[in-house]
């Protein structure tokens, strides 16, 4: 759709593969989306790393399967944590056990969906790292669950998934990725956007909702 720019050609000719370049661009785009979600909307996520890797992972697995794997990861983590918390053990060993159980469940899940004929046709083409990226969500979720509450961690999880879905939507649009790939000047523009967001002092949309009761009594 867009003519390959000279800069992009030059970068690719100098040993940076187009795939790496695309992933790096996706990272810049999704991280800006996370910034907007946090400081303009007020959406909580598990930091910035989780939504980025999740969005990129979804772009490999496809949204439907990505979300299904996410669901398996969360349910398995919850189950294994509730069982393991009854046993007195060190924290890291508990998380390690959780990951082991998670791997077993994920394999079982893939077998199960395959037996129903719902498996991914191109599963072998999906980088295994994409699955690991989604599985890493378990750690973020359990940490939050232990520290705060179940409700709090679910809300943050939903926030993370929502931002990741939006990120996935943006980075999987061909015209967006092609445009940025061939107009690399947009990357410094994202830096400017993030600096401006960093200086934004106005109320977040969530703040407007949160403080909507202020002055209501006076209005009466």
């Amino acid at each position: 759709m867009f003519e390959t720019s000279e800069l992009t050609k030059w970068i690719i000719e100098h040993g940076v593969s187009q795939m790496v370049l695309e992933i790096l661009i996706s990272m810049c785009v999704v991280s800006t989306i996370v910034s907007i979600a946090r400081y303009v909307i007020g959406n909580k996520t598990y930091g910035i790393y989780a939504p980025i890797i999740l969005a990129i992972a979804y772009s490999y697995t496809g949204l439907k399967y990505g979300l299904a794997i996410t669901l398996v990861v969360i349910i398995t983590s919850l189950l294994s944590y509730s069982i393991l918390k009854k046993i007195r053990m060190h924290y890291i060993t508990r998380i390690a056990t959780n990951y082991t159980i998670l791997s077993i469940f994920l394999v079982a899940f893939f077998i199960l969906i395959d037996s129903f004929g719902l498996g991914l046709e191109n599963m072998s083409n999906i980088p295994p790292l994409a699955f690991i990226c989604i599985a890493a969500l378990s750690d973020f979720f359990i940490k939050q669950y232990i520290k705060k509450s179940f409700k709090g961690s679910i809300v943050t999880l939903l926030g993370t998934i929502l931002v990741a879905i939006f990120g996935w939507f943006v980075i999987t649009r061909n015209f967006v990725s092609e445009y940025i790939l061939n107009n690399l000047w947009t990357i410094p523009l994202l830096v400017v956007i993030n600096i401006l967001l960093g200086m934004f002092k106005g109320l977040r949309i969530k703040d407007l909702f949160r403080f909507r009761l202020i002055g209501k009594e006076d209005d009466k």
Binding site: K201, G202, L203, L213
Partner: protein, 491 residues
């Protein structure tokens, strides 16, 4: 809608602005380190002779936990992580089961020694702490709630949060534990938050985090407690030792070096005010509890030079006090008047039809005393003469009314007999019987327009010559309907 958003943005402090304009510039990393470390906070506050809950044990390692002398602990105590946030990891124990190593929690459940060890291990592992670093477990005294506040809270310890900025207390709220919050005074756990008028220390509006909602910051305004045997109204509670609480909050600010601070103070039944903790990033829900925005308050005092703690309190009371009056007005629909109030009294020559339109109408600013002990309002005859009733007084003198009467019935009889001649007068509305310096007299009554609390109204005044009149105007019961009198204040 857009106007409302603009208004909110102007008044309310959001998270973005709090962090950028107040927390980062005014709270240095070293000050934040004090606030984020309860042991360090206690040490700093102790130097300023500020009371904090007594520490029974500090557990730094699992070995120390292994050798903990459980019998040396009192029946009730609190376990908290040294670097915990948002009340996470805090467990309160009310008592110990007889003959058992089991301790009772506010909701009635018990925890045995093994459960408590596991919880302390979790604290040591840094599960409840900022950045998940290893932490220290504090076993400290459980504050025994002051009897007044005890009746409003469900088992736990209520506390008072005061936000201070630039050595001025800016906003305050009372946090009351509920059944849902399981004895903690944390808003997100379900505690009730009640705004406090900085000027008087009287509670105003109340709110809590709505239960069964997906989002944690969904508030609901409430008027009374919800889970007590007898639920009590939450507005109008006078917080004991209010001035000393403000003083303590400002001392904490000075000691910690935090420019923008939230100080949590509990009232102990025996020890008085005890500081729980200081907060370098106090939450913003306090604005909903007070039905007021923090932003404009902070901006108002940003460049004010505060000379002393007393000065800071004075500034706060003058600038931010008075919400209680507005809230009483909102709740009861009545205006609050001070016991002595300044009012405008209009000249007799003023055109009554144009009073509201023309500010330049001849009027005088005078002091009025609110006296619910008299029915009809009174005006000093000298003041009445000044505003144009001299001729009316002359007319009254011509009536030849006796200087005194034996009793009220004689006076009333006289008034009834002479009603006709009075009704011919254009200046005197009627005659009234009053007691003046111990003598029953008959005096003239005039209709005089006044302006009180932004309202102009025609008021009946009995002209009096009494020398012991407190102020040139006394407003009586007949003219105070719809008002509440604040006896603690003059204008």
């Amino acid at each position: 809608m857009i106007n409302r958003i603009i208004k909110l943005n102007k008044e309310v402090l959001g998270l973005n602005r709090r962090n950028q304009e107040y927390v980062r510039p005014y709270n240095s990393p070293s000050s934040k380190a004090i606030a984020d470390n309860k042991i360090y906070t206690k040490r700093v506050l102790k130097k300023e002779l500020i009371q904090t809950p007594e520490v029974y044990k500090l557990i730094r390692t699992k070995k120390q936990l292994q050798f903990l002398d459980w019998d040396s602990l009192p029946k009730s105590f609190v376990i908290k992580p040294n670097q915990g946030t948002g009340g996470n990891g805090i467990i309160v124990f009310y008592g110990k089961k007889k003959g058992k190593m089991e301790w009772i929690r506010p909701n009635g459940t018990t925890m045995n020694q093994r459960d408590i060890i596991l919880h302390i291990e979790n604290i040591l592992d840094g599960r409840f702490s900022m950045g998940a670093k290893n932490d220290i477990a504090i076993i400290e005294e459980r504050v025994k709630t002051d009897s007044l506040l005890k009746q409003y809270s469900y088992k736990g310890v209520p506390d008072i949060r005061i936000i201070c900025f630039n050595q001025v207390p800016v906003m305050a709220m009372l946090r009351l534990p509920t059944k849902r919050s399981n004895g903690t005074a944390n808003l997100h756990s379900g505690a009730i938050c009640t705004g406090i008028d900085i000027g008087t220390g009287i509670t105003t509006y109340s709110m809590h985090n709505k239960p069964h909602t997906v989002f944690s910051d969904t508030y609901e305004l409430i008027e009374s407690t919800m889970d007590l045997k007898t639920n009590l109204p939450l507005s109008g509670i006078q917080i004991p030792s209010w001035n000393s609480l403000l003083e303590i909050a400002l001392k904490c600010q000075k000691a910690s070096g935090l420019g923008y601070i939230g100080v949590d103070i509990a009232l102990d039944a025996e020890k008085g005010p005890v500081v729980f903790e200081v907060n370098a990033r106090p939450g913003l829900g306090i604005q909903v509890a007070n039905q007021a925005g923090l932003r404009w308050r902070l901006e108002k005092i940003k460049d004010v030079k505060i000379k002393s703690i007393k000065h800071g309190i004075r500034v706060a009371k003058n600038l931010f006090g008075g919400e209680i009056e507005e809230s009483i007005e909102a709740i009861s629909g009545r205006k609050v008047l001070n016991i002595v109030e300044r009012i405008y009294i209009y000249d007799k020559s003023a055109d009554l039809t144009k009073l509201e339109k023309y500010k330049e109408t001849k009027r005088q600013l005078v002091k009025a005393y609110m006296d619910t002990g008299v029915l009809t309002s009174r005006i000093d005859s000298k003041l009445a003469n000044r505003i144009g009733y001299l001729s009316a007084h002359k007319e009254f003198a011509k009536l030849g009314i006796p200087n005194k009467f034996e009793n009220f019935s004689d006076a009333q009889e006289y008034i009834d007999k002479n009603e006709k001649s009075i009704s011919e007068s254009t200046q005197i509305k009627r005659l009234a019987k009053i007691v003046e310096e111990g003598v029953v007299k008959v005096r003239p009554v005039f209709d005089i327009p006044i302006k009180i609390s932004d309202k102009i109204k025609i008021t009946e005044f009995v002209s009096t010559e009494s020398s012991d009149i407190l102020q040139p105007i006394i407003l009586g019961k007949a003219d105070l309907t719809g008002y509440l009198i604040d006896t603690s204040n003059t204008f």
